[in-house]
Subunit: 229 residues, 2 copies
């Protein structure tokens, strides 16, 4: 079955607007989502307003509301666009732990490269976002098949996602993040600990920190849920 | 020794501006930090600009630059303000695991209640932020005394903080966050798993999810580092 984004794209839109042709004919879910993502990238999550989006699209607010009834609907479209970039194909193919690591690493890379969207993704309800719901179904079914008790699946997913969101910020933090600088004499233990960290390539170090933390989190969650792996 | 914020506050400022008294006389680190936090709260992290901040303070940009040489400096002041709200007194008093839980719970509450600052805190270098550095020193010294190898301390702190940042967003997410709604037939396993979750009080559920995830993460990190607890 086609989802609503695909349905919108079945008939290619002529981007050369003819004389007298109303601007609203050019609006569809894809173009609105594109423009919303550009706005969030340039102005941050709070920079997305219906008025600002209509202006960026060169249409009236009324025209925009004909296609999207709220900012929340548009945020769900943005969420769905990003979530469908995350590969869940490993679930059902390999053991739950390896598949979860592949999924989480993919998810982290998408969030790292789309940092401006982390907060919106973390807070936008998934209802009405079919690609997002398909992702969660793949993860939940994979964990259930791997022996996870049903009631431990959602708390585990939330814990893993929370770790991914925070780690995505860390990957974009400057290398000097934890350098005490001229105050290092006031923090002797911490300064020595920092000296052991991120001495090699910075991006590789961030990825290792994410991978090691994820492995630790999965070990602890599985122990707590009484699951093997 | 007084830090720069304390030094600025030694002589109380007269807030009733006398005739002809220059506005810059009213600027100090505390007032600039207050105004920056108000701006970030109302407009998000990207809403903080030196020009906008000067305008909010009713001074010229040049006057503001006399006190703070960059937006990064002001973000460090904001970071220091928030980080000094986090209680680290348990380190050295009780075992490392219990003390880390007290610290992380405190940290999570501050971030949950100051969601607009999560991204800035996650990315702002700590150099020049004495309260922040004091916090990290207490944590690092507590972990070292608890038997943690020096080289595992910073990766563990980063993992815990990443989890805190993401969990702070989850605590502010709407209750409908993971409800598939009318698409639940497309996600049968996930829908059943969500049915087990957050049926009771929503805020309490978010706190439990954080606490359980934190416990799992600490267990996994300690196992990986070969530390007891």
């Amino acid at each position: 079955m086609l989802n609503s984004e695909q349905r919108n794209d079945v008939h290619p839109v002529d981007h050369h607007r003819g004389a007298g042709r109303p601007a609203t004919a050019l609006l569809n879910r894809k173009r609105i989502t594109d423009a919303a993502m550009r706005l969030i990238r340039s102005k941050g999550p709070d920079g997305l307003t219906m008025a600002g989006l209509a202006s960026a699209l060169g249409v009236s607010a009324a025209a925009l509301y004909n296609h999207a009834d709220s900012k929340n609907m548009i945020l769900r479209w943005v969420e769905d666009r990003l979530m469908q970039m995350i590969d869940v194909s490993a679930f059902g193919e390999i053991d739950w732990r390896s598949a979860t690591i592949v999924w989480a690493r993919n998810y982290w890379r998408v969030m790292r490269d789309n940092n401006q969207f982390v907060e919106a993704i973390a807070k936008t309800p998934i209802g009405g976002a079919p690609q997002t719901i398909a992702m969660y179904e793949a993860v939940a079914a994979g964990l259930l098949a791997g022996g996870w008790p049903l009631e431990r699946i959602v708390p585990a997913i939330i814990a893993i996602e929370s770790f991914i969101y925070g780690s995505a910020f860390d990957a974009q933090a400057p290398e000097s993040l934890l350098d005490p600088g001229e105050l290092s004499a006031d923090a002797p233990v911490f300064s020595r600990a920092v000296g052991h960290y991120r001495s090699a390539d910075y991006n590789v170090a961030a990825e290792h920190t994410f991978e090691d933390g994820l492995a630790a989190l999965l070990t602890g969650l599985a122990l707590s849920a009484g699951v093997r792996g």
